[in-house]
Structures are given as structure tokens and as C-alpha cells.
Symmetry: C2
Subunit: 200 residues, 2 copies
């Protein structure tokens, strides 16, 4: 049995929902409303002392950090390429995502679209914008000669990067000049059992 501690607007949680759906794994969800600080209650801190979603519960064991959960679920499936170097490249892109991409693009989206507090973060948003576009530039360049991020196959590296990139406009990032990223979006959106994070 799989249980996902989930916040519906979170791209990090969406990564897990997308992969679980594509793997055909049934799961329960527990909604954790981070806007009402439900990830900081004493009960939730027992589940994840770092106070963040998503958390996966499987076989009585908890696992936090979206990209570690992706790895755990994808091991020994087609969503994780074979080969030591290829697997290390998957991790390289997932660490890039958490260090250079998510803190800029996801945080901008969180402030602007979820908290609706753009005016409170004017200076910080300038820095996030610059660093976020730098991350998008790195992705665009890589996709000029690669159809997916690692080993020419759709993998959890793509899922990790797609999550907040396909809703980057909700953080006021303009993707119109990023033609490689847009073509990569299409390749992902054609995958079997694809779901989106965008509001319908």
C-alpha cells in the first residue's frame, strides 16, 4: 500500500502523482494544506522533521524529498535508465533541479500565484527571475541536442524538471523564446497516462 502526503498545488507533489499514475500504482492521499501550516504541526513533523511535502509512506516506512521518492519508485522500471553513468546523470539533473531551478522558478510561482503576494517580494523576485532564466537557459541548451534529459529516453529526470517548468508562467517566466523546451513539453505530454499540474 502506498500513501502520499500531498499538497495539490505543489509541483514537488505533482512529480510523485505523475509517476505513480504512469506506473499504474494505486495510492491513497492525505491532503496537507501547507497554506494553513499543516506541514508544521507536531503530528506532521513526526512524519517529516523537515516539515515539507511530499512524503511517501510504503511498507510502514516514510520517505521525504520529491526526487528521492521518484528514485525509489522508478528503480528497476523503464523510468530510470540503466547504467551507472546514466543513473548518475539522472541524479545530476535532479540535483540541478533542486538547487538551481526549483528555488527560483517554484518560489516565484508560490509568491505570485499561490500566495498572491507579488508586491511583498519585489526585490527577491528580481534575483529569482535572473537565476530562474539562467536555469531555463541551461535546459534549453541541453535540449538542442537531446530529446530527453538522459539517455534519449523519458525518465524521472524529465519528470523532475518538467514539474515546475510547465507551470513557470505562473511565476511570470515567459517561455515563448524557449522553443526546445516547448518541443520537449510536447514529447512529455504525449507519454502514456500523462497528467498536468495546470489548472483546467
Amino acid at each position: 500500500m502506498y500513501k502520499l502526503y500531498d499538497f495539490l498545488l505543489s509541483g514537488n507533489c505533482y512529480k510523485i502523482r505523475l509517476l505513480l499514475n504512469q506506473l499504474g500504482i494505486a495510492y491513497e492521499t492525505v491532503n496537507v494544506d501547507i497554506l494553513h501550516k499543516e506541514s508544521r504541526t507536531p503530528e506532521f513533523l513526526k512524519i517529516n522533521p523537515n516539515g515539507r511535502t511530499p512524503v511517501l509512506l510504503h511498507d510502514g516506512k516514510y520517505l521525504a524529498e520529491s526526487n528521492a521518492i521518484l528514485w525509489y519508485l522508478a528503480s528497476n522500471t523503464d523510468f530510470l535508465p540503466k547504467g551507472d553513468y546514466e543513473q548518475a546523470q539522472v541524479l545530476q539533473w535532479m540535483f540541478f533541479e533542486q538547487f538551481s531551478h526549483e528555488p527560483n522558478i517554484a518560489t516565484s510561482r508560490y509568491w505570485i500565484t499561490i500566495l498572491k503576494a507579488e508586491n511583498e517580494y519585489v526585490e527577491q523576485l528580481k534575483e529569482k527571475k535572473k537565476a530562474g532564466y539562467a536555469a531555463l537557459d541551461v535546459m534549453e541548451q541541453h535540449l538542442e541536442s537531446n530529446i530527453f534529459f538522459v539517455a534519449d529516453q523519458y525518465s524521472i529526470a524529465d519528470i523532475a524538471l518538467y514539474a515546475y517548468t510547465h507551470v513557470a508562467e505562473e511565476g511570470k517566466f515567459d517561455l515563448s523564446a524557449y522553443s526546445q523546451i516547448q518541443q520537449w513539453f510536447k514529447r512529455i505530454e504525449e507519454q502514456d497516462k500523462y497528467i498536468t499540474l495546470k489548472k483546467s
Copy 2:
């Protein structure tokens, strides 16, 4: 043959030097002086388009992101615990390190001790201090009932977290109240072929 693109003051680069030393792997280094923007030259950006150290060159292939390099080197060694769940826990802690720890503790150290520009970052340092202590609290709590971060064995999860924690005082973090972390320091410093990042 292994070649490490290295910046001597970087904790992320130190992680790789420590593991290579403990694995007994001989390697060359190429010094990349990030203070003189040597990680942003056209030549270096061909090696890592994200413009960061460390980068490992092995068998003609480049790999970036310190924790992905740790994983690549540790695979099939005693530095990576066996078991799918244990390996996912290693990744959980390494993503925690890059998301919740390094951007706060390493960045404070960089501004204060390396750039010697504490006065230029007064407001940002306040936020970094708060978030950095929160990360240290999570570590301290985990170490109350664990001798190492995963599976009761010294692993790359410990190396990843130790790198910037053992020099946190260079970012003006006071570790005197963190007795569990200090005892964990001792257990790491007793490991065979241990080296430090601290200035002698």
C-alpha cells in the same frame, strides 16, 4: 583516470576529495578559481553549462553536481548502503543537504569568510541564519537516535552533510549547543583516510 575540476575552498568539492581519498582512488585536479570567474569561461561552460564546481571527468565523460558525483563513485562500495529503501534515504538526506542546508550554511560562509563581504549581505544573512539553524535542528534531532544518517553506517549521506557542517562556524553558526552533531563529527573524523576542509 579520474580528473576533478576543483576549487579548494568549496565544501562541495571537498566532498569529492574526501571520498576519493577514502576510496584510495588516484586523481588529477584542475584548479578552477571561482573568485576569478573561472567557472564561467566559455571553456568551462563546455564542461558544465551550469558553471559550477565540482565536475568529475572519468572515462571521457563529465559529471557535475557534488552529490551525483558522490553517488557515482560510491556505487557498489561500502560508502553506499545496500537496499532500495536505504539508498532512497541516502538520496533523501542528500537532497535535504542541497535544498535546506547548503544554500543557507554554505552561502553564509561564502559571503562572510570567503568574500569577506558580511556587511553587504546583512538582510540576506538574517534569513540564511534562521533557515540554516532549522536545518541543523533537523540534523541534531536525527542524530539523537542514529549514529550516522542512514543504516547505522558511515556513507555518502554523512559526507554530503558533514562538508559544510564542520565549517559552519566560518558562516558564523554557533554549534556549541549541538552536542549530537559534535559527537557525529568525532565519529566521522575517526574514519580511515579522513581529511578536513578546515584551514590548518
